[in-house]
């Protein structure tokens, strides 16, 4: 698989480390009343869709940026790649 890095252009996926679901950006508030429940879901429970999936990749053997990749888990086709930083900012993080 080739990941089209927003800053570096097309790079082989083997340069990256795959962390998992992009929802991991949304770390729950540890002070929330139901924080334990929220963290349980955050750490352990997944949608795991067959089809379009937004996921975090880390460019470990490159510029060490985090990316949000939108990829189809049935075909491995990648439809969009963004810097995780931009995604997080957009979400007000």
């Amino acid at each position: 698989m080739i990941i089209n890095h927003p800053l570096l252009g097309p790079r082989d996926s083997s340069e990256f480390y795959h962390l998992g679901d992009a929802t991991l950006i949304n770390r729950p508030d540890p002070d929330a009343a139901d924080a334990a429940e929220q963290f349980y879901e955050y750490v352990y429970i997944r949608d795991d869709p067959a089809g379009e999936y937004r996921e975090l990749w880390y460019h470990e053997q490159g510029d060490r940026s985090w990316l949000v990749v939108t990829r189809n888990t049935l075909t491995h086709e990648i439809s969009s790649v963004e810097l995780a930083r931009d995604v997080a900012r957009r979400q007000g993080k």
């Binding site: 429970i45 795991d48 067959a50 888990t73």
Partner: protein, 416 residues
């Protein structure tokens, strides 16, 4: 028909005209007492033990493709019970004991061959870990032998003992481990279940569950709706997709694992050998092909095929361990999708929905578990209580912090 040497002789003398199909192909009835969703090894074993051991009747197995089209027909067939944690050891040792008697039990040749598994180690730290694991195995009634370098050399003189980067310091041997013919395991359980009256219904995909007021009363399928008192889901790499039909989210991610086979060679590898400085396991099939595999591809996937980096990595490890195989030609490679759980351990449990049960999270080690998984799931379905050897495989263990992390990797499914 009972299979025996006498039967072969008899059929041979009468022109082989008396053989019958190995199982029936019934139409689904409108209702069953038990429906097992998924005709892989675990689903078929569950149906078999439900009927044979727990004396239940009116059972169907629903399979979306043909039986054995999933992981049971795709795996590298390694059977072992070399586990460390007390939640796992009795379960896997029970499984190995069932394997040892499986062919006599279901009257089918599954080519179970206890040729041993040798896990190499390459550092002092790895030796300590192997000794610890071996002790845990012996304590749980399994067998383990710690070999030093010379012991390994005697068994496998062809390994690269001159490798400076990954020196072979010894190995942990489980002599009773081995391999079995994967398809024959599915066929043997299918035939055994069929002989007990179980309906095996192929090309019948479950597309929904009939759930009302928190109780499941049947399934929707491509062959119509079917009622059931109890529905046991057992779909391995499709676990997340199928349980989503019941509105459930699981502590599971789906990943692809590849496997490889070379052209047939003369006997070169005595048992199963694994490389300790990476992830590579290799054995030789009775036909002569070298069967091997390594890590999962490490990204979520429902495609039953992987990518080239893993192939390259596995080939490099093979060269580091057994340079003599450098000229062996690869015949085929394929992939299967794995239900990777958050701690690398499985589930055999009720769900919060009445009448709906779940078996999954087998990661890439579920073939060896087939007999015990079937037995324990059948126990749960028949009695509504977990089998004593499977009490830890709960769906809610993450909520309560009682995880079973055999490798100590944390909630990172691609690392288990």
């Amino acid at each position: 028909m009972h299979y025996s040497a006498l039967q072969i002789l008899k059929q041979g003398l009468t022109g082989n005209k008396g053989w019958k199909p190995v199982w029936r192909e019934p139409k689904p009835k409108s209702a069953y007492d038990f429906i097992i969703v998924g005709g892989g090894g675990h689903g078929l074993a569950t149906a078999y033990y439900l009927a044979e051991e727990f004396k239940q009747a009116n059972i169907a197995v629903l399979e979306k493709g043909w039986i054995g089209s999933g992981n049971v027909g795709r795996n590298t067939t390694i059977v072992r019970s070399n586990y460390l944690l007390p939640e796992n050891t009795p379960f896997y040792e029970m499984s190995l004991k069932l394997w040892e008697n499986l062919e006599q039990d279901f009257n089918y040749n599954a080519m179970m061959s206890q040729r041993g598994i040798l896990n190499l180690f390459h550092s002092d730290g790895e030796r300590d870990a192997a000794a610890r694991r071996g002790n845990a195995m012996v304590l749980s009634d399994a067998d383990a032998v710690l070999l030093d370098r010379e012991g390994v050399r005697k068994m496998c003189p062809f390994l690269d003992f001159d490798n400076e980067r990954f020196p072979i310091k010894g190995g942990l041997l489980q002599p009773r481990a081995g391999t079995a013919r994967h398809d024959a395991v599915a066929w043997g359980y299918a035939r055994g279940a069929d002989r007990c009256g179980v309906d095996i219904i192929q090309n019948c995909e479950v597309t929904g569950f009939q759930i009302e007021n928190g109780v499941c009363s049947g399934v929707e399928t491509t062959k119509g709706n079917i009622k059931a008192n109890k529905v046991g889901v057992c779909v391995a790499g499709s676990s997340s997709r199928v349980m989503a039909l019941a509105g459930m989210r699981l502590p599971i991610e789906t990943h692809v694992l590849q496997a490889f086979v070379t052209e047939g060679l003369k006997p070169v590898i005595p048992g199963v050998v694994t490389f300790g400085a990476g992830h590579l396991y290799i054995s030789q099939s009775d036909k002569g092909g070298l069967v091997f595999g390594g890590d999962i591809d490490k990204y979520n996937s429902y495609a039953q095929r992987g990518n080239l980096p893993v192939i390259e990595h596995v080939a490099e490890e093979m060269m580091a361990m057994m340079p003599m195989l450098g000229r062996a030609r690869l015949l085929r490679s394929w992939g299967g999708v794995m239900d990777m759980s958050m701690d690398g351990s499985p589930f055999i449990d009720k769900t919060h929905i009445g009448g709906l049960y779940f078996n999954g999270g087998w990661c890439y080690g579920g073939f060896k578990a087939t007999p015990a998984s079937g037995m324990c799931y059948a126990h749960l379905l028949a009695t509504d209580t977990p089998h004593p050897n499977a009490t830890a495989f709960r769906l809610d263990r993450f909520r309560h912090g009682i995880i079973i992390d055999e490798k100590g990797q944390g909630a990172q499914p691609n690392q288990h």
